[in-house]
Symmetry: C2
Subunit: 277 residues, 2 copies
């Protein structure tokens, strides 16, 4: 398999760059890519150290450096070494610059400013962790989103993912033997979303879960008939309350979360997709 060294340089956390690389690489297959991840490159000395590694592992250099001195240094040194470079954000930044009639600021890390939106996001994460798995249901009215679903429908990771995007999320397991607190049916502010999945898939996932916990794999928890009943009970609850339902059977966490955000946008403003910064 051909191998490619991919050097990713950022003068901030490198998170955006990592996602760009992941999305772009997903469009190729049968290639072994060795990623070299270089965040927080903000000094000449740091760049010097990295250039040694880059020339030892020749490949493609992709960067999101906004500091012009470091950028020019990198570009000219790579040109000397005959290594291709790509500035990952130029197309978007340049269009914005034209549209706004403004030069870009060239200040690294500005997207990580600890502004109001930042603190709201941290609060969302804290809220979400404190309201996992039916905890503190007395405070559900403060949530943006409440996810309901039977065990192993990805409620927790989906909640956490949404929290990282700024939503305060609570989640509640749907268990026929133990009905949820009646407060669930009276929520005003939060959007309640039901998560469902195919019983076959659920039995599979739960069986793996029990194996990983070293527990006996033959209990009601993985009994096909019982699981059918459970899923039917949950679906009826969702329908009775007119909650939107997302089937997570073939969806990754990110895709489930994107579907939840779509529903939330539509509900919040009665016009899909508009969200002020």
């Amino acid at each position: 398999m051909p191998q490619l060294h991919l050097h990713l340089l950022s003068d901030s956390t490198g998170e955006t760059l990592e996602m760009i690389a992941k999305a772009a690489l997903a469009q190729f297959e049968g290639v072994e890519v060795v990623r070299h991840f270089w965040p927080m490159v903000r000094s000449q000395q740091h760049l010097d150290r990295i250039m040694g590694e880059i020339t030892r592992n020749r490949g493609l250099v992709v960067f999101t450096l906004v500091n012009p001195e470091i950028r020019i240094q990198l570009e000219s040194r790579c040109a000397e070494a005959q290594l291709p470079t790509v500035s990952a954000l130029d197309a978007v930044t340049e269009s914005l610059s034209r549209m706004l009639g403004q030069e870009q600021l060239h200040r690294p890390g500005r997207q990580h400013q600890m502004d109001e939106a930042y603190f709201a996001r941290v609060e969302a994460i804290q809220f979400t962790i404190a309201h996992d798995d039916g905890l503190l249901w007395e405070e559900w009215e403060e949530a943006d989103i409440v996810l309901a679903g039977v065990s192993r429908t990805s409620k927790t990771p989906t909640s956490i993912y949404l929290a990282n995007r700024g939503y305060k999320v609570a989640n509640i397991p749907v268990v026929p033997e133990s009905p949820p607190p009646p407060a669930l049916y009276r929520l005003k502010r939060p959007m309640v979303v039901g998560l469902t999945t195919s019983p076959d898939r659920l039995v599979q996932v739960r069986r793996n879960r029990l194996l990983s916990l070293n527990q006996a794999p033959e209990t009601d928890y993985v009994d096909k008939e019982r699981v059918d009943d459970e899923v039917r009970y949950a679906r009826r609850m969702f329908a009775d309350n007119n909650w939107p339902v997302i089937d997570v059977t073939r969806r990754s966490i990110e895709e489930t979360a994107a579907a939840v955000i779509n529903l939330h946008n539509e509900r919040r403003i009665g016009q899909a997709g508009t969200k002020p910064v």
Copy 2:
């Protein structure tokens, strides 16, 4: 303040695109940007609906569409309406295509495949939630990273953020009155990192925390001398055990996490930054 409508179209979750927009917008100021976020655009009908909204809110159209039919449709219809479009990932995808001697696949959502890495990440999130705040310390040896720090040094959100990037993280509050389980000092596999912050900042953050909980703002928890002692105690513990220390005083969660990842890379392979996909 000038206003700009920014339309973000993706045929997948739109997460990468949202981060690109955030990073690029951070380089401009004094502008009011209204973001219109359109994820999962995979059909002609969906695009038809969106085009109505775009032409009603004229502005810049940025996209990460990989499906060529939808992309061509969008581009030609925006051209007709004299609206500028930018393809956010082209520079990187085209360079990769050249380097690899391969055409891109044009299949949306491939970065969200539920592969091994995906399930490892979900497991990391579940592990991290189960090991918040000193819980289940018997299992710490399974963690990649253990964060230690006094109350309100962002241990929990930093842990969650790292979990989203695939690291299994546990965290433990450092409290002089209640020493941590001795297991903490004997960990082999996990990297233990101490989080510290300036006592002044800590008093401030904690005071706000108490206010938000409607609790009396004058307790030991926010007493300057007590907080000084607490921070000193934590720093001594970190030094005695030779744990690397990160000062979070002026760092956002993302920046603290990037610093932790840097330390983890360096420790793991004795050579900063190299990480195979």
